[in-house]
């Protein structure tokens, strides 16, 4: 790794002020540190957010569930409020990576990174979430801007994610057998006004699948439905065609778990 200076601010204001020049925020570090070790990324200042008190709380607030940005996946997976309000989020969090990754990786780190095969973006978009930051908030619809791109400005810190509590929700993913990232991950949610379907892994960035939403709203059969999109990803792990097919399979699996 290239040398850097690490600081551990005790407040958001202090953390924001420290963001100068070539800097990065650190939460669980399970994407950033490997990238820095591989010298894909170099920073002068690394700002560790985990010493800031109160950033990892989880609470039900009316018809929303609010999860602090530095809450670790393992904590989300076993949290009573999560399991009661939106059990699909506990399932999703419990299926990320492996136990060691879940013990350190955070929801905020994942959403700030916006890996196109990460799980959390599908939940945020599928549950019409609001992403709260040190400078305001972003609706999920506006927040995700394609592969590794978000609406976060330089120095803007993700502080919490506010999920709408749906009538029902389910997450199904076909993981890559080694990395456990999604080759296709489908988050399906039912709200009073209709269904929302978000796809991760199969596409170049998380996106809604409006055709599947319409089929669920009208009660049409989902048989044979596959994702046809110019945005499908294709690489050594899976072709675009296979990912589109997997998206359909995972859609039917998630839809069958909606209760």
């Amino acid at each position: 790794m290239h040398p850097f200076t690490l600081i551990r601010p005790k407040s958001l204001a202090e953390a924001g002020n420290a963001f100068r020049g070539d800097a990065a925020f650190l939460a669980g570090g399970h994407t950033l540190i490997p990238a820095m070790k591989a010298r894909l990324r170099a920073v002068e200042t690394l700002i560790d957010l985990t010493a800031i008190p109160g950033l990892d709380g989880i609470a039900r607030e009316g018809d929303h569930l609010r999860i602090g940005a530095t809450a670790r996946h393992a904590k989300v997976a076993r949290d009573a409020a999560v399991r009661q309000s939106i059990p699909a989020l506990a399932t999703l969090a419990g299926g990320i990576g492996d136990p060691q990754v879940r013990n350190r990786g955070t929801i905020g780190g994942s959403l700030a990174n916006n890996d196109p095969a990460a799980d959390w973006p599908a939940a945020a978009l599928g549950l019409d979430a609001v992403l709260e930051t040190s400078q305001g908030s972003h609706a999920a619809e506006d927040y995700f801007q394609g592969m590794f791109a978000t609406a976060l400005a330089d120095g803007e810190i993700l502080t919490a994610i506010r999920f709408r509590v749906p009538q029902a929700a389910a997450y199904a993913k076909h993981p890559h057998p080694a990395s456990r990232y999604a080759l296709a991950g489908l988050f399906v949610a039912r709200f009073p006004e209709g269904h929302r379907v978000a796809v991760t892994g199969a596409t170049m960035g998380v996106m809604r699948w409006t055709g599947a939403e319409a089929a669920l709203d009208t009660g049409e059969s989902l048989e044979g439905l596959s994702l046809a999109s110019d945005d499908l990803a294709s690489d050594i792990h899976a072709s675009a065609e296979f990912r589109g097919h997997l998206a359909g399979v995972m859609l039917r699996k998630a839809a069958s778990e909606l209760v």
């Binding site: 690490l6 551990r8 570090g29 540190i33 690394l46 492996d98 060691q100 990395s179």
Partner: protein, 161 residues
């Protein structure tokens, strides 16, 4: 940066460059070479240690972020005369094989027993071992060792298999 934490039950002050990884610090500075470096890319789990009682990959932890933490390495689990029950179980079930992944497997096994109790099913153990790779591919004995170790960890004092 100077970082203070508990290492294997004793107060420890580390003075290391900010980019120092826990694996590097344990092995190169302290000579605690029981924490192995396998893939060095957070996949294989040979470097697993316990941080505040939960398993974590030391190759992906910066020492400077461990202020106040409780870190336990394989060296802190038992002694040659008094092995940790999970270590004894690995010996009993021949869970070690070539030995390279063993420290990480033992640490993962302890975390499994802490979370799932005395009788984790084979399915649970195999699922929980997703972050640990054995290149001998001999998972059968490892799973058996963790079953025995979990039972022993939760047995009333003095009772062992």
């Amino acid at each position: 940066m100077r970082t203070t934490f508990t290492l294997n039950g004793e107060a420890h002050a580390a003075d290391a460059p900010d980019e120092t990884l826990l694996t590097e610090y344990l092995r190169d500075t302290l000579g605690l070479t029981g924490t192995h470096i396998g893939c060095d890319t957070s996949q294989c789990g040979a470097c697993n240690v316990l941080v505040d009682g939960e398993s974590a990959k030391a190759c992906t932890l910066l020492v400077a972020t461990l202020e106040g933490a409780r870190v336990t390495t394989i060296e802190g689990l038992g002694t040659e005369a008094h092995l940790h029950p999970m270590q004894a179980a690995f010996r009993q079930a021949h869970g070690s094989q070539c030995g390279f992944c063993t420290p990480g497997m033992v640490v993962a096994g302890i975390a499994i027993a802490e979370r799932h109790g005395a009788e984790p099913s084979e399915e649970v153990i195999r699922h929980e071992l997703e972050g640990n790779l054995c290149r001998c591919t001999g998972y059968q004995h490892i799973v058996e060792a963790i079953r025995i170790g979990a039972r022993a960890m939760h047995a009333p004092a003095g009772e062992t298999e």
